[in-house]
């Protein structure tokens, strides 16, 4: 009966993270994390350095052995084959491992791999599509450039383009904005937001900037020393509740509301 209930509940959610515990060697880094995501939403993991954000992302991506399950539309990710997993989940690590000169276009085309056969090459249409995505993020001039010669920020945008090509239901992003300047940060976040809004997708990301998280995300999961200490909904929660929660993570901070010319609500935070 209990099992049936679990299955039932998972069906209701687009993506559910259930009792995840994981660590490196004997050291437990995250403990019993639970939350769920609806489609068309973005979730941000908030926490200080070493609070287990990356560990959680890696566990969700099934790259770290863990207890507990992650399930997408009722199907457990742990039981999927490498290709099936890659068709459902895309992941941007903090630092990508491209260490050999490759053209930007070839890097983006890697995103098709999960949907190609072993010896199949991307079709002309797919190459065309990759070029379009590159021009969408403003890198159309760099198609033939060596990836290694790009700036760190441009590299992150290329990897985002690769993620757009992967076109998976779950997007995992580990600090995708760490090397971006302010305009590119907003550009990247609105690209991610657009992907999630227009298609049946959900995203989980780690950000260091809580303002960006409050601006673009629907749900904030607060992590402290590997435990989930609260979940915030910036669109619904009152500012007092959120300020209190942030204080638990960042120490003494003050959260303020401000409104732009069109009357839209934004947040600003300062440390005390």
């Amino acid at each position: 009966m209990k099992e049936y209930n679990t299955i039932q509940r998972e069906r209701e959610c687009f993506f559910e993270i259930h009792n995840i515990t994981a660590g490196y060697g004997k050291k437990e880094m995250i403990h019993n994390i639970n939350f769920s995501l609806n489609s068309h939403t973005l979730t941000c993991l908030i926490g200080a350095n070493g609070s287990g954000k990356t560990t959680l992302l890696k566990s969700i991506a099934n790259q770290l052995s863990h207890q507990g399950t992650c399930s997408i539309e009722g199907e457990s990710l742990e039981q999927k084959s490498v290709k099936e997993l890659a068709r459902d989940v895309s992941y941007i690590p903090q630092k990508t491992g491209i260490s050999i000169s490759m053209s930007v276009l070839d890097v983006v085309l890697m995103g098709y791999n999960a949907r190609l056969k072993l010896l199949e090459n991307p079709s002309k249409k797919q190459i065309q599509q990759a070029c379009e995505v590159l021009s969408k993020i403003g890198l159309e001039k760099e198609i033939d450039t060596d990836y290694l010669n790009l700036s760190e920020g441009q590299k992150q945008l290329v990897i985002l383009a690769r993620m757009m090509i992967e076109n998976t239901k779950i997007l995992l992003l580990d600090e995708p904005d760490s090397a971006l300047d302010v305009p590119n940060r907003f550009r990247m976040m609105s690209n991610i937001r657009h992907m999630v809004d227009t298609e049946e997708k959900a995203g989980i990301l780690c950000l260091h900037d809580p303002m960006l998280a409050l601006e673009f995300c629907d749900q904030l999961v607060l992590l402290k020393a590997g435990k989930c200490i609260g979940i915030l909904y910036p669109k619904k929660d009152s500012i007092g509740v959120m300020e209190k929660a942030f204080c638990q993570v960042y120490g003494n901070v003050s959260l303020m509301e401000c409104f732009d010319k069109e009357g839209k609500r934004h947040f600003s935070m300062i440390g005390i």
């Binding site: 790259q63 290709k83 992941y91 491992g97 260490s99 490759m102 791999n113 072993l118 198609i143």
Partner: protein, 327 residues
Amino acid sequence: MEIVKRTKKIQYIIVIILILGVCFFLSLSAGKFPLHVPDLFRGDETALSVFWTLRFPRSCMAVIAGFGLGVVGIVYQTIFQNPLAAPDIIGVSAGACGGAAFGILFCAGGTVGVTLCAFAGSVIAVISALGLSMVVRGKSHLSIVLSGLAVQSLAQTVLMMLKLMADPEKELAAIEYWIMGSLNAITAKDIMFPIGVTAICMMILICLYRQIFLLSLHEDEATLLGVSVGILRLVILLLATLVVAAIVSVTGVIGFVGLVAPHCARLLLKNLCVETLVLSGLIGSVLLLVADILARTVAKSELPVSVFTSLIGVPFLVWLMVRKEKN
């Protein structure tokens, strides 16, 4: 823009193929016995016999060995994410040397016996290195490198023991000469096996080029792009190493081709692509052909071919690097 780039890549390949053609012709005519084209057409028996039993197989072997080592070099450098990685890294050459020494000491089969022993030696070395790396179950390619190192030093110890057992006048000299590597005395019979193995493995490797490039990423990243990293890496390394084993078991150790050819190809084409693989192979062929021509013409007696692969390869590499700096 894409098309322009492509034409440029093809141009490089065509130029190298032309150079290869010229070198092949020179290689056919170089040697102690003077071969002239009219003699061959007239049906001069000695000339024809020299051509078919010595020159032609030897030149073919140089082309195929150079091509194999060049392509394998780039595969290794990509998979190990290290510009210095060479097939030796997982103990192929050391295994082949040990096998060859064993063959020279204990097999009565002459060159064929030695070749077989060398091939067996290198395959055993590689399989034990890869097997060991699976037992260790490290997450990265580093465990393969470490197991390779272990196997390599083990093979070297075996070689040393065999050398100690060898008769210093004949056998030890034979072992040493074999290790130095040479394309001397290669006949049509010898080259069938390495050519067959190289051709098949090369075709598969070149078809798998997209996967090879994906393996240059971190393991997590590659997995989430849909690559079964463990099994694919094993298969590709095994294929690449089979090529080297088949070549080295016939020629002995040939240094530097597998290192310098990929670098030349990458410096010429900049971004890694399937053309880089082909170009690297072709450059390897040219390098080995030229080195072999020099090895048999410079001095009165044959010199080891490795002497010339590095003598030609090093300045060429330096020139390319200087040119790259200037650009």
